[in-house]
């Protein structure tokens, strides 16, 4: 039978009316490829969203039609055909999944082994077992959610939040990244599938690190993730995104949006360890395009937002986690390690916008290039006219492994207030055969030598990661750097 058109799907759902809580059962759960208003409505309908949410999506979609894809990133790629993408797919049916680990790509399994991932988790990651099934049976997840509820902390999927906490969504969604912000964010606003919602009430310190790991999320809808984290006055929370295992995904385009809002005296720490499948080492085929808009707003006085990331995957990475320092005495931080090798290209960096008085920002960016990887750092520090006493410290270090890779730096500084203090440092170093041989001659193997040198290089950033993540990140770098010298 021919796949139904988006309009047919929409009509079928609309005909059944909005019922709270569950998704209606229709014959096919996947929308055909292509994007038009019908698709946007269908997505919204599938999620039983209220009318105002559907309208917001449509506003974004109509605006998207007037925009053109940005071309200035220092990366080369074939532009995705937006009409060839399916914007909603249900989780894989049991027939599509590999029946056991034996059917999974042995190279993928080898990486899981190296990273020390337990067998059960491997099954989940490879799609052998549906995510829901795994987590439903894990009592840890339920106890954990119970504790949060006691404290008044909301941690759920954004779809659930739209239905259960509309006042918060209406107040904060799009307040940091407006729907018109940029091409990919606008697309995301129209078709976002799911993501995390975190709300920490006044004076509450979230007692544990929140992680996407615990959020039940159907695998294939991760391509347009939308996350919103709100910390009220005096609240604090640490959020972990991603995992170290290489994520296989047929969806090539990932255009997520993350918004953070910190009110007076609030603190939000957002850590990412991401290892998207980088694609075939020689051709880059199958690799993920990771185009993400991440922004935090230090809305309140003395508020603080820190972004910490370790990125080692994806074929193309384009992301600039940023902080808007609106509240007086607010602080923004960005710590990043980005590794590119094979044929990967990364154009990443950050934007710190100083608006309030006595604001402070710290940027420490470490780029590691190996193989034929191309690593570009693009940082912008803007000090607006009213930002008296602003202070920025930027440190941008590049490490080159071998002699066929590249590192590029584009720092932009725009200062409109004479009392601002800016410090910028940059360095480039190389791991060559001479260093490796020196280590060898002292009894240290090549693998340990590269690991030691890279860890030394990255330690200022690893220090900022929550401990388990830091350990995973080190392991991750080691696995990714195997065989990269000489």
């Amino acid at each position: 039978m021919a796949a139904p058109t988006a309009t047919q799907v929409f009509e079928e759902i609309a005909g059944q009316g909005y019922q709270a809580g569950f998704v209606t059962d229709i014959e096919t759960e996947t929308l055909p490829p292509g994007l038009d208003e019908g698709v946007v409505r269908a997505i919204s309908a599938k999620k039983n969203e209220p009318e105002w949410m559907t309208e917001w999506r449509l506003k974004a979609y109509r605006h998207w039609l007037t925009m053109s894809e940005p071309e200035w990133a220092n990366v080369t790629y074939t532009k995705p055909d937006y009409q060839a993408i399916s914007y909603y797919s249900a989780p894989k049916s049991a027939d599509d999944r590999p029946k056991s680990l034996d059917e999974v790509d042995p190279e993928l399994l080898a990486t899981y082994e190296k990273l020390g991932i337990p067998l059960r988790e491997q099954e989940m990651l490879a799609g052998v077992v549906a995510v829901d099934a795994v987590f439903d049976s894990v009592s840890v997840a339920t106890t954990f959610k119970g504790k949060l509820k006691e404290l008044g902390i909301i941690f759920c999927s954004i779809s659930e939040a739209i239905r259960e906490h509309p006042e918060l969504i209406r107040k904060y969604l799009g307040s940091v990244v407006p729907y018109s912000d940029n091409f990919f964010a606008t697309l995301n606003s129209a078709v976002f599938s799911d993501g995390s919602f975190v709300f920490v009430p006044k004076g509450v310190r979230c007692p544990m690190e929140l992680s996407t790991y615990f959020r039940i999320n159907a695998m294939n809808t991760g391509q347009f993730e939308r996350t919103l984290i709100i910390a009220e006055e005096g609240a604090s929370v640490s959020y972990l995104e991603g995992c170290t295992a290489p994520m296989r995904d047929e969806n090539q385009l990932h255009a997520a949006v993350v918004e953070l809002v910190a009110l007076d005296d609030a603190k939000i720490k957002y850590s990412t360890v991401q290892n998207w499948y980088p694609g075939d080492m020689e051709t880059g085929k199958g690799g993920i395009y990771n185009f993400v808009t991440k922004r935090g707003k230090c809305e309140g006085r003395r508020s603080k937002i820190s972004w910490t990331q370790v990125e080692t995957g994806s074929a193309i990475t384009w992301k600039y986690p940023s902080v808007i320092l609106k509240g007086d005495d607010s602080v923004g931080e960005f710590y990043s390690v980005a590794l590119t090798k094979g044929r990967q290209q990364a154009d990443t960096g950050t934007k710190m916008i100083h608006i309030g008085k006595n604001t402070r920002s710290t940027i420490i960016s470490k780029g590691i290039s190996a193989g034929r990887g191309q690593n570009t750092y693009r940082g912008a520090v803007k000090i607006l006219r009213g930002a008296d006493g602003a202070h920025n410290y930027s440190q941008c270090d590049s490490m080159l492994i071998g002699d066929r890779c590249g590192a590029h730096t584009f720092p932009y500084i725009d200062v409109q207030n004479p009392t601002a203090r800016m410090e910028h440092e940059a360095s480039t170093s190389k791991i060559g055969e001479d260093q490796i041989f020196y280590c060898n001659q002292r009894g240290i193997s090549e693998e340990d030598a590269v690991s030691m040198i890279v860890n030394g290089f990255c330690k200022e950033v690893f220090r900022e990661l929550p401990m388990e993540f830091a350990v995973e990140a080190q392991k991750l770098l080691q696995v990714n750097l195997e065989g990269s010298v000489g």
Binding site: S429, Y438, C439, N440, Q441, R442, G443, I444, G456
Partner: protein, 263 residues
């Protein structure tokens, strides 16, 4: 059994033969000096013993404590007890001198079936050995060789040697670039590490170092071969008469092709 036996060693780099049949026997407890003009193959010998990949051994063998040294990877040789004090020590950014040394020492200890040394014991060891080469404490926490002066780098090599306690130490022109005071400090350091369990190959261009590190035997390398061996007086004779004299005596050109491939 001799500590080191080099038999008819031939080695080339990028197709050019540099070592043309080296024979040398070194016993534990001895210090042998290897002298020669630029291009004679001195550094090549050092690098080949350390296991540098760029050098191809085309003939001959090297026995270390009776074991086939050439069959081992460079890190395995180090763990067996071979140490090379580099002529041009490289910098290792981001890795502190102490951290680096501890990693090295523990790799060697593990190989020998010894327990890894913890941070406290290691620090005690380091503080003691620092005195041997008058090393400043500040250099301990700096990244390896980063911003070190020439003299500090050479002293750092000897400091490493004192911590790692090798069986065979090859010093590749440790005296080059040093003034007389720095030279004395390095020599004192080396001398304090002389023992019955250890052998030294001191590679040098000039005789001066050998006033401070008095060798048991002196070999002269010319054109990739050892053309003469003798006691310490040989070094003095060379200094007085120059390499050209010896060249004429043995009828050999100083360097294989005239091209400089490291001394």
């Amino acid at each position: 059994m001799p500590l080191l036996e080099i038999k008819n060693l031939h080695a080339s780099v990028e197709g050019t033969e540099i070592l043309k049949g080296i024979d040398l026997t070194l016993d534990s407890g001895q210090v042998h000096a290897i002298m020669g003009p630029n291009g004679s193959g001195k550094s090549t010998l050092a690098q080949v013993l350390a296991g540098r990949e760029e050098y191809d051994v085309t003939e001959g063998e090297v026995l270390f404590d009776g074991k086939d040294l050439l069959a081992l990877d460079p890190e395995e040789r180090a763990r067996e007890g071979v140490f090379l004090a580099f002529q041009y020590p490289v910098e290792i950014p981001g890795v502190s001198n102490t951290y680096f040394l501890k990693a090295a020492l523990n790799a060697i200890r593990k190989h020998r079936g010894l327990k890894e040394m913890d941070a406290m014991d290691f620090l005690k060891l380091v503080k003691e050995r620092m005195k041997l080469v008058q090393m400043e404490e500040t250099l301990l926490n700096r990244p390896v060789n980063e911003g070190f002066s020439g003299g500090e780098k050479k002293r750092n090599e000897i400091f490493h040697m004192s911590v790692l306690e090798p069986r065979l130490a090859v010093l590749d022109e440790t005296d080059s670039g040093l003034d007389i005071d720095a030279l004395k400090i390095v020599a004192d350091g080396v001398n304090s590490l002389r023992s019955a369990d250890r052998g030294f190959l001191v590679i040098t261009h000039y005789q001066r170092l050998l006033n401070f590190i008095v060798p048991d035997r002196v070999h002269v390398l010319l054109g990739g071969r050892i053309v003469r061996s003798g006691g310490k007086e040989l070094a003095l004779e060379l200094e007085e008469k120059g390499y050209v004299w010896l060249e004429q005596e043995v009828g050999v050109a100083a360097s294989p092709t005239g091209a400089a491939v490291g001394a």
